[in-house]
Amino acid sequence: MIKTALEALHNVKDPEIDTISIVDLGMVEQIEVEGHSVLVKLLPTFMGCPALDIIQKNVEAEIGKAGIFEKIEVRFIYHPPWTSDRVTETGRIKLKEFGIAPPPKFISETGGWQVDCPFCGSAYTTMDNLFGPTACRSILYCKSCRNPFEAMKPVSTMM
């Protein structure tokens, strides 16, 4: 039954990035099945994210399609905190397909990070705005192919 629920969660996409599922984003922390009830514990990427309510509804709908659960509960938990290294390898590829650079590794010594352009792969990029259209993204510019693009912010407990 857990497998069924997990498969359903693969169909729940980020409301704004429809190529990537919440599983590949690393938001799914636990799935708990007891009898015909299922409890899904999710980690919010950023706390003020307005997509959380939509994600919750979509989780209930997708798991509900399986038709084997009488009670579906979604809970957002803070611990452990979501960090950008939870995005899976598949997730990183899917983000790139969407035109968003996957979260770079955070260099704790300097606080700097290096992002490659998701379109042409060039490392010759500049930061336009640390803050982007959503809490989890930044805006960058590629000086090689001259495209603006977005990158997922690196988030680590080392900060």
């Binding site: 857990i2 905190p81 407990t157």
Partner: protein, 286 residues
């Protein structure tokens, strides 16, 4: 039998889910007092930040500042949730339905952004926004570093999460502060005026109210005096780098002590605006 799937792990049997942490009755007043301050501080400053939407100096700043305000409102929601878990009421009513005299935010954080109204003729002061946000964010960072080791585990967990987002806020405001301070001319003059205004009430941000001693005693957060010294110590090299002399003697609480419910008409106005929709029907589900 219960089975759980953990991120990055296989199948595993578990014993008992972690519930709310039980606390001793004697600790509760200090704990809730601390949480009200943390929640109310973030809540009102996020509101003041939201009023800047569309009015920031340039479009990239509009994106950044609104993102920061959204994060900050998210932090307030987490602290209100911790209060809700302790039986203080639900999150929406904690945020919207409490009177001015019940609020525990520092007075500095409630002051208007400047003359005028955001819908018309706003003459907001960007220097004040930069200084207030930078000084506050640094104080919040110091507070969170201590809260990460709080004896109340749910608070320690929230602190870890908030701290990660705060990293970017601090970087943002510090950059603005240094650049405007080094710009000279009108920028420098206005920044210095804003610094005077912020410091005149910054003591009110650094204190933790009448139960501060108990908070430290129960290991909820470090002593307010220690945090204050940390703030001065952290800011010193930044002030020196922009040729600014600030000492402990500059810190004051001119306009009132928000930690004991003293507030200004600015907060009255803000609360009546932000809770206007909520008050149409407090029982409505959003």
């Amino acid at each position: 039998m219960k089975r759980r799937f953990f991120h990055g792990e296989g199948w595993r049997k578990v014993t008992e889910p972690a519930g709310n942490m039980p606390i001793e009755a004697k600790i509760k007043p200090a704990l809730t007092s601390l949480l009200y301050q943390l929640a109310d501080d973030d809540f009102i400053l996020a509101y003041r930040g939201a009023e800047w939407l569309g009015l920031a100096p340039h479009i990239e700043e509009d994106v950044a500042f609104s993102s920061i305000s959204q994060d900050t409102m998210g932090h307030a929601a987490m602290f209100y949730q911790l209060l809700a878990d302790l039986g203080e009421g639900n999150v929406d009513s904690l945020a919207h339905a409490r009177k001015t005299s019940e609020r525990r935010n520092a007075v500095l954080l409630e002051l208007v952004n400047g003359p005028g109204h955001y819908l018309s003729s706003a003459q907001y002061d960007w220097a004040f926004a930069v200084v207030r946000n930078y000084f506050y964010t640094q104080a919040k960072k110091i507070r969170l570093d201590s809260l990460k080791n709080s004896s109340y585990r749910p608070l320690a967990e929230v602190a870890l999460k908030v701290n990660m987002e705060l990293y970017y806020h601090l970087l943002h405001w510090k950059t603005w502060f240094i650049q405007l301070m080094q710009a000279g001319g009108e920028a420098r003059t206005r920044m210095e005026a804003a610094i005077g205004k912020v410091l005149a009430d910054f003591e009110g941000v650094l204190i933790l109210g009448p139960l501060a001693k108990e908070m430290a005693e129960y290991g909820l957060i470090e002593k307010e005096e220690v945090s204050k010294q940390r703030w001065l110590h952290t800011m010193k090299p930044v002030f020196e780098s922009v040729n600014l002399a600030v000492s402990e003697a500059n810190l004051a609480m001119k306009t009132g002590n928000g930690r004991i419910g003293e507030h200004t008409v600015d907060l009255d106005d803000a609360l009546s605006t932000l809770s206007e929709v909520y008050n149409i029907n407090p029982a409505a589900s959003w």
